[in-house]
Symmetry: C2
Subunit: 326 residues, 2 copies
């Protein structure tokens, strides 16, 4: 019997499922499954059907040891999704216990950034590391912090919110209700805001002057920068300066061996990494200088969300605390 | 046989030693022992004599289970004191292994702020907590971060440097070589610098205009504030604003149940705590608001340094990893 794990990624519109072995092979992956059920019962019903199909598709001789779910606004300790602005389920949904009851299998729930950290630990560049950080650069900025070989969840299960550390107390308004949070500067949305600020501040020509804020994407900014657009290049420099500074604070807190950058914005490669590394090193305490690796996630072009959720189960299965936690 | 621990606090001029039981009773404490030996061998020789006297003083029926040492620039993993600016021993001194060889007992070495965190965990307000932070406000600002019940030492043994997170990239020069570090604003030295800045910026009368920078102490500033001195009151507000903001970043990183403030500056009590709590709560993400306790250390008026170093031994003895670590 080959041991496998079901990895699940609950997104705003669709949910992805995959069966993953210990080596990170995706043995089977579901076709499109909608997340947009008004009631959670409908979602669970559809979920069950998709899982049954997946399990049948890989044939017998497999033992599923657990179900790992990555979802927005997830609380690891409680196994709940809490007040998610981008899902249809209001209030608090005890998704882990509902899934556990249905499948009689250990089920863990975490947010996307923590899933990415589990993925990096089990399948990616953080194999063998006990202290590292994964920063996810998508619509927002997420973070998964690993200290002493364990994810840092904090007292209430919601630690690792580096995206909401402070850049400027009078700065940009953030969806969380504060002002000046890191993710309002450093994220796909943040760099768009920066482009608009720079278009306002300067008079140089830029193709991006023809694009509305809604239409502007991080990819467009990347392409423009590669084509020599001064505003786009300055926007990456601006983003990297703030990211580098705040990553030096991350190091002061948790002293990681490496920081991995994951997600859409990292596709800009050197445009982002070169200036970030410069500002990062300039702002490190001398005792840390040159000692903390800053690198792209090794899961950047894989089914990272499914792999990460599955990795969470493997990690706690091997730590021997899977049944206590779930 | 009653189990006891030797707790040691290595300071710039003197070293303090005490025998401590599991309940935090200081069974015996050494008289003055100098740290100012030019060579470590002389220090170790004197140390041995002091320990012998201490052990004799409490009579038989005691079993010493280990030696915990708090020292500046200590590396927990390596048991070394590394390039200490305030001690006479240059380079790297393997103090833990020297002491261990001499006494044939498990010996651990950590820095003052981490010792304070162990003390809070075993003897203070953090009993039963698995996620908390201790901030020490002395000449500098130290921090001990506990996540998942373990001190966060990071990859190289030197995590928890919240005092060197960034307030202002163009800000005050710091002893670490950077500019704008938190401890240049928030510490006994930091508030003196703030008083001088405010004396320069404003024209109001202040008794502190008669005091030189060298002579000015945090106690004087506290007394002046209590007496209604506007500059002193403004200096506490300035300090608290920066501390509150940066503590909200600490929460975003590690999501503690409580943050304990320890050390000289906390003697100012409400002068410091009231405005710090205000700015702290204003800057927390909504999900953390009202959920993180900010309180004075319960070890503030005790032999905290000796208790903390001893607590480190009790903690790892009870975790069962004392002999692996030492």
């Amino acid at each position: 019997m080959k041991k496998i794990v079901l990895g699940v990624d609950v997104g705003g519109t669709s949910t992805k499922l995959g069966l993953v072995d210990r080596e990170g092979n995706l043995l089977a992956e579901s076709k499109f499954m909608s997340t947009e059920y008004e009631f959670i019962d409908g979602f669970i019903e559809s979920f069950e059907k998709h899982v049954d199909q997946l399990v049948k598709s890989i044939g017998p001789d497999h033992e599923m040891i657990g179900i790992g779910i990555g979802a927005p606004n997830a609380n690891f300790y409680r196994g709940t999704i809490e007040y998610p602005p981008n899902l249809k389920w209001p209030g608090i949904t005890p998704l882990a216990s509902m899934v556990k009851r249905k499948f009689k299998l250990p089920t863990l729930l975490t947010n996307d950034a923590n899933a990415a950290a589990y993925g990096e630990m089990i399948y990616g560049g953080a194999k063998g590391m006990k202290d590292f950080v994964v920063i996810t650069l998508g619509t927002g900025l997420g973070s998964g912090i690993v200290s002493n070989g364990q994810l840092v969840y904090g007292y209430a299960g919601n630690a690792g919110e580096v995206g909401h550390t402070l850049v400027n107390v009078h700065g940009r308004h953030c969806g969380c209700g504060k002002q000046g949070c890191l993710e309002t500067y450093v994220s796909a949305t943040g760099i768009r805001r920066t482009v608009y600020k720079l278009l306002a501040d300067y008079t140089v020509d830029s193709k991006m002057r023809e694009v509305s804020f809604e239409d502007l994407s991080a990819e467009m900014i990347t392409d423009a920068a590669h084509a020599g657009d001064e505003i786009a290049i300055a926007a990456f420099e601006y983003t990297a300066r703030i990211l580098g500074m705040k990553l030096s604070d991350v190091v002061a807190h948790s002293g990681p061996e490496a920081i991995f950058l994951f997600g859409g914005l990292t596709h800009a490669k050197d445009l982002l990494f070169m200036p970030t590394a410069k500002h990062f090193n300039n702002n490190l305490m001398p005792i840390f200088k040159g000692k903390v690796k800053l690198m792209p996630s090794e899961l950047n072009n894989k089914n990272a969300a499914i792999l990460g959720s599955a990795a969470m189960i493997w990690k706690h299965y091997e730590d021997g605390d899977l049944s206590t936690l779930s």
